[in-house]
C-alpha cells in the first residue's frame, strides 16, 4: 500500500478563525488509489480540512500539494478543474433543480464543448450534451436513484439527497473525491451500499478521502486513515492501528470503547 | 359655422403622480371652459364639446399610449396636454404623424409648436420675471443679490439667467448662485449657504416645492431682506400652507383672482369657486385658455369639422378671444406674454399688487 504514489499532501496546514485554530498545523498524505479515512471528534477540524483542500478557505499557514500542483491561493473552480470533487456534510443541493440537472451540473468540467458551442447548438456540442445526460443518468443509477431523475431534488428525503450529492460529485470524473460523512442518516444496509460504492470507485482508479463517524464503515472500507483532534494530527496508519491507539481511544471513543461497538452488529 | 353635433377633445392629464397638484388645476380649468363653451355656443351653433380624459401621471410612456389611443379614436378632433417638456416633446411627433391638433398648456420650450398641428398657449418663460426684476432693481437698488435655481429644470435655469442679467446690468453683485434639484426637500443647507453671503435681495427661481421650501428655510433662519420669486407660489393652497412665511414676496403672473377683473375672469373665478370651493390659479387659467383656443378654431370651420380643418383654422388664429388675461396674442401657434401683474400675498391672505415698503 505504501509504495503507491502520493496524490494529496498537506504540509503543516493551519486555519485560524479569529482566535479559533480550527486546523493547527496538520501534515498528512493521501496515496493514489486508496480510500483514506479522516476521523476525529466533533469540531476537530475535518470539514475545515476539506474546505481548505477545495479552496473555499485558504490556509492561514502551510501548503497543500495535489498531483504536482500547489493549491495555494487557487480559487475553488481551478482546484476543481485539477480533479478534486466533494460532497457536503450539510447537504447542499441547488434548489429548483431536478436530480438529473444536479448531476448534469456536476458534469460541467467534462462538457467537452465550449459555452459558446453549446449555446450555438453545434452538432458536436449537442452530442456532448446528450452524452453528459446519459452519463448523469448512469451516475444516478449507480447511487440507487435511477427512478428519480426528474424529481425536484429538494423534495427528496435526507438520505436520498446525499446520494444525489455523491452522483453530482462524480460527474466531473475527479481524481480525488472528498466525502464528508456520506452515510450520516443512513441505516446499516444503506451505509454498506455506500461503502461498496466507494470500493468500486476506488477499484476504478479514484482516490477517496472520507470523513466518517461510523467506525464500522471505516474499518471495513478504508485502506488508511488519519485521526485529528483539536486541529492537529493524533494518529495515522491503518484503521485498525488507529483505533487501537490509546490516545485515539481516549479522545474519540470516550470511556466505553469496547471494540464490539465498533464492529458491525449482528 | 361647423355642422352641429358633439365633438370630442382629448386631455392627457396629470391628475395623479408627482405634479398632480398643478395637473388637477389645469384639468379643472379645461372642464370649466368646456361647460362655458357648451352653454354659450362658443364653438358654433348646436356644437358641443366633450372632454375625454386619460391620466398620464406625468409618465412619458403612459402619455404616449394615451395620445396614440386618442389618435386612433377618429371622434377625437383635438388634444391638449402636458406640463413638462419631455412629455410635450414625445407627443408632438404623434400629433404631427396623425394630423391631430395638440394644444400644449404647460410645458414651454423654444420650437415646440409645429405647423399646423402643435400649438402652445403658454408664453416662453422669462419676460415676466424680467419685468419684475427691472422694477425690483430700480426701486430697491440692491448691492448684493443671491439666486436660487433648479439645476435639473431647463425652464427655471433660463428664468434665473434672465433675472440675473437684469440685476447685473443694474450694477448688483452676484454673491451666490445656488442650485437645488426639483426633488429636494431639505433646504437648511442651501438657506444657510445663501445667508452666509449677506445678500440684500434673494431671487428664488425654482420649481414650486423647492421655492416654498427655500423661502420657509430662509425666513425661519431669520433672513429679513427681500425675496423675489415666480408664479409658483401663487396657488391659494400654497398660501394656506405657508401663510405668513410667503407674505410680501413679489412674483409676476398674468392671472390672479382678485386682480384680474375682465368679465371673463370674473365669471371664471365665480364658476370655479362655486364648483370646486376654492380659488383658481394660473394653471387653471392656462387649461381654460387651451380649450377656448380649440373652440375658437372650431367655430371658424365651415361644414363637417375634421382634424385637418381644425388645425388649419387654429394656426390662423392670432388672438384668443376668450381668455382671462385681458388679451392673449398668438404668433405661429405660440402664445405671447399677456399683461403682467407684479403681486404678492398680503397679511389678509389675498394677492395684492406688490409695492415697495
Amino acid at each position: 500500500m505504501h509504495d503507491t504514489p502520493t496524490l494529496l499532501q498537506l504540509r503543516a496546514v493551519a486555519k485560524h478563525f479569529g482566535g479559533v485554530a480550527a486546523v493547527g498545523g496538520l501534515s498528512t498524505t493521501v496515496r493514489k488509489g486508496t480510500v483514506h479515512g479522516l476521523i476525529g471528534p466533533n469540531g476537530a477540524g475535518k470539514t475545515t480540512v476539506i474546505n481548505l483542500i477545495t479552496g473555499l478557505f485558504h490556509p492561514t499557514d502551510g501548503e497543500i500539494l495535489f498531483d504536482g500542483h500547489n493549491l495555494e491561493a487557487k480559487p475553488p473552480h481551478e482546484i476543481a478543474a485539477l480533479g478534486i470533487s466533494r460532497t457536503y456534510q450539510n447537504v447542499r443541493l441547488f434548489s429548483g433543480m431536478s436530480a438529473l440537472e444536479q448531476v448534469l451540473t456536476g458534469c460541467f468540467l467534462k462538457r467537452g464543448s465550449s459555452l459558446f458551442a453549446s449555446f450555438a447548438g453545434l452538432p458536436a456540442a449537442r452530442r456532448n450534451w446528450e452524452e453528459a445526460r446519459a452519463k448523469s443518468l448512469l451516475l444516478l443509477a449507480r447511487v440507487g436513484m435511477a427512478g428519480k431523475a426528474d424529481v425536484l431534488a429538494e423534495t427528496l428525503s435526507y438520505g436520498e439527497q446525499r446520494r444525489i450529492e455523491i452522483a453530482r460529485a462524480l460527474g466531473s470524473d475527479p481524481k480525488l473525491l472528498l466525502l464528508d460523512e456520506p452515510t450520516a442518516g443512513m441505516n446499516h444496509a444503506e451505509s454498506q451500499a455506500i461503502g461498496q460504492l466507494v470500493h468500486e470507485l476506488r477499484d476504478s482508479g479514484l482516490t477517496i478521502l472520507m470523513v466518517e463517524h461510523n467506525m464500522g464503515l471505516v474499518t471495513e472500507f478504508c485502506d488508511s486513515c488519519t485521526v485529528m483532534n483539536f486541529g492537529k494530527l493524533l494518529a495515522e496508519g491503518t484503521p485498525r492501528s488507529c483505533i487501537d491507539d490509546p490516545e485515539v481511544q481516549a479522545a474519540y471513543f470516550g470511556r466505553k470503547n469496547d471494540a464490539k461497538r465498533i464492529q458491525p452488529v449482528g | 359655422d361647423p355642422a352641429p353635433g358633439q365633438y370630442n377633445i382629448g386631455i392627457i392629464s396629470d391628475d395623479t403622480g408627482p405634479l398632480a397638484a398643478a395637473g388637477i388645476s389645469y384639468h379643472r380649468g379645461a372642464d370649466l371652459a368646456i361647460e362655458e363653451i357648451n352653454a354659450n355656443g362658443f364653438a358654433g351653433e348646436g356644437v358641443t364639446l366633450n372632454l375625454l380624459v386619460k391620466d398620464s401621471a406625468t409618465d412619458a410612456a403612459r402619455a404616449v399610449q394615451a395620445m396614440t389611443q386618442f389618435a386612433a379614436d377618429r371622434t377625437v378632433l383635438a388634444t391638449t396636454c402636458c406640463i413638462i417638456t419631455p412629455i410635450a416633446g414625445a407627443l408632438s411627433p404623434i400629433a404631427m404623424n396623425n394630423n391631430l391638433p395638440l394644444v400644449i398648456y404647460g410645458a414651454t420650450r423654444e420650437g415646440l409648436p409645429q405647423e399646423p398641428y402643435v400649438t402652445s398657449v403658454v408664453a416662453l418663460p422669462g419676460p415676466q420675471e424680467v419685468m419684475m426684476s427691472e422694477r425690483l432693481a430700480s426701486e430697491l437698488k440692491p448691492k448684493r443679490v443671491a439666486y436660487y435655481t433648479t439645476g435639473d429644470n431647463d425652464i427655471f435655469l433660463a428664468r434665473a439667467h434672465a433675472v440675473k442679467a437684469v440685476f447685473e446690468e443694474a450694477g448688483a453683485e452676484t454673491v451666490a448662485e445656488i442650485s437645488t434639484l426639483a426633488n429636494d426637500t431639505d433646504f437648511t443647507g442651501p438657506a444657510t449657504q445663501g445667508m452666509g453671503t449677506n445678500p440684500d435681495v434673494i431671487m428664488v427661481m425654482t420649481t414650486q416645492q423647492p421655492a416654498v421650501g427655500i423661502i420657509s428655510a430662509l425666513r425661519q433662519r431669520g433672513y429679513e431682506g427681500l425675496i423675489g420669486t415666480s408664479e409658483v407660489i401663487s396657488p391659494p393652497a400654497i398660501y394656506q400652507k405657508s401663510g405668513d412665511l410667503i407674505e410680501g414676496i413679489p412674483f409676476a403672473l398674468s392671472f390672479q383672482p382678485g386682480l384680474s377683473d375682465s368679465p371673463e375672469a370674473t365669471t371664471f373665478i365665480e364658476a370655479y369657486q362655486a364648483k370646486y370651493n376654492e380659488l383658481p390659479d394660473v394653471y387653471s387659467a392656462q387649461g381654460y385658455t387651451a380649450i377656448h383656443y380649440i373652440a375658437q378654431g372650431m367655430k371658424a370651420i365651415d361644414g363637417e369639422p375634421t382634424r385637418e380643418k381644425l388645425a388649419e383654422e387654429m394656426w390662423k388664429i392670432t388672438s384668443i378671444d376668450h381668455n382671462l388675461y385681458g388679451g392673449q396674442e398668438i404668433v405661429n401657434g405660440q402664445a405671447q406674454i399677456p399683461e403682467t401683474l407684479i403681486v404678492n400675498w398680503n397679511s389678509d391672505g389675498e394677492v395684492a399688487l406688490w409695492e415697495n415698503q
Binding site: L56, H77, F94, M97, F108 | A61, V64, Q65, P86
Partner: protein
C-alpha cells in the same frame, strides 16, 4: 376586421411599450438569473438610448441598425461596470447599482453635447412595432438557446449556491461577467427601443421609474425562466391602461391591488418552471419509493 384595426391603432403604443419593457426586463433577468440583483440595466439603457439617438440624428440610420450599435455600446459599458461591481457582494451590489442610476442621471444632465443635458433630445425616427417585435424575437431566441445550454444550467447553479458551484469547476466570476455582458447588450437595445418609441429622451427617461418597471416586470412575470420577464413586461405595461379604463377614479390603487393579488397568489411569478418540475416529480413513473 374594422374592430381589429381600431384596436390595433389604439393599443399599438401599449404593445410597443410592452415590447420595449420586455427588453429592459430581460436585461434585468440576464443578471438576476446568475444571482445578481442589479439596477445597472437603467444605465445600460441610457447608454444605448443616447448612442442610438445620436447615431440616428447624425447618420440617419434605420432604427434596427441603431439598435445594433446601442447593443454594442451597452455591452461595452457592462464590461466596465462588471469589473468594478463583481468585487462586491450581493446586497452591496444592489445598492451600488442604484448609486450608478443616480450617477447616470447626473452625467446625462451635465453632458449636454452628448445628451442634450437638461433640455433632453429629440429622436427624429420612430421604430415600428413590427421592427420591435423582430428584435425581441431574436433576443428571446438567444435567451431560449442560453437556457437550454451549459450556460443556462451553470448560471442557475451559480444563482442558487455560488460556492458549491465553484467547487464544481464553475467560475462564478466568469458566469456573472457573461451575464453582465448580455444584460448590457440587451439593456442597450432596450434603451434604444425606448428612445425610438418615445422620440424624446432626457435624464428622466432613464431614471428610477425605469428601474421599478424593470424589476416589477421581471418578478411579476417570473424570474426563473426567460419567458417570465416578457410576460411580466406586457402585464405591467398594460395594467395602468386597463385600470384607467375600468376604474378611472382609483386607477393607481387598483393597479397596486392587482399587483399585490398576483404576488400573493403566485409569489414566484406568472411563469414558474418549478411548478412544472413538481408536476414531473409526481408522475407515477418517478413517484416509486426505493425499497429497503
Amino acid at each position: 376586421m374594422e374592430a381589429i384595426l381600431d384596436f390595433w391603432a389604439a393599443y399599438s403604443a401599449t404593445i410597443a411599450f410592452g415590447l420595449v419593457n420586455s427588453f429592459i426586463a430581460l436585461s434585468c433577468y440576464a443578471v438576476l438569473s446568475a444571482g445578481v440583483l442589479s439596477f445597472t440595466t437603467v444605465m445600460f439603457a441610457a447608454v444605448g438610448g443616447f448612442v442610438a439617438a445620436q447615431m440616428i440624428g447624425m447618420f440617419a440610420l434605420p432604427p434596427l441598425v441603431a439598435f445594433l450599435f446601442a447593443g454594442v455600446a451597452g455591452g461595452v459599458a457592462a464590461a466596465v461596470i462588471a469589473v468594478i461591481f463583481l468585487r462586491l457582494e450581493t446586497h452591496w451590489m444592489a445598492l451600488a447599482s442604484l448609486a450608478l442610476v443616480l450617477i447616470t442621471r447626473v452625467v446625462v444632465l451635465n453632458t449636454p453635447t452628448l445628451t442634450g443635458g437638461v433640455q433632453g433630445m429629440l429622436v427624429p425616427v420612430r421604430v415600428s412595432v413590427l421592427e420591435l417585435f423582430l428584435a425581441l424575437a431574436v433576443t428571446a431566441f438567444v435567451f431560449y438557446r442560453m437556457h437550454n445550454s451549459w450556460y443556462g444550467l451553470v448560471s442557475r447553479a451559480v444563482r442558487e449556491d455560488p460556492s458549491v458551484a465553484s467547487t464544481m469547476g464553475i467560475s462564478t466570476y466568469r458566469v456573472q461577467f457573461i451575464a453582465f455582458l448580455i444584460s448590457g447588450a440587451v439593456g442597450g437595445i432596450g434603451g434604444a427601443a425606448l428612445a425610438t418609441t418615445l422620440q424624446f429622451i432626457s435624464a428622466d427617461t432613464y431614471f428610477l421609474a425605469l428601474a421599478f418597471t424593470m424589476i416589477a416586470s421581471t418578478v411579476l412575470g417570473g424570474s426563473f425562466h426567460w419567458f417570465g420577464p416578457i410576460v411580466g413586461a406586457f402585464v405591467f405595461t398594460a395594467l395602468p391602461t386597463t385600470m384607467q379604463a375600468v376604474l378611472p377614479e382609483i386607477q393607481d390603487v387598483a393597479k397596486g391591488v392587482v399587483l399585490l393579488v398576483i404576488m400573493i397568489l403566485l409569489p414566484r411569478g406568472l411563469v414558474d418552471p418549478r411548478v412544472l418540475k413538481l408536476r414531473l416529480s409526481r408522475s407515477p413513473k418517478t413517484a416509486e419509493q426505493p425499497d429497503a
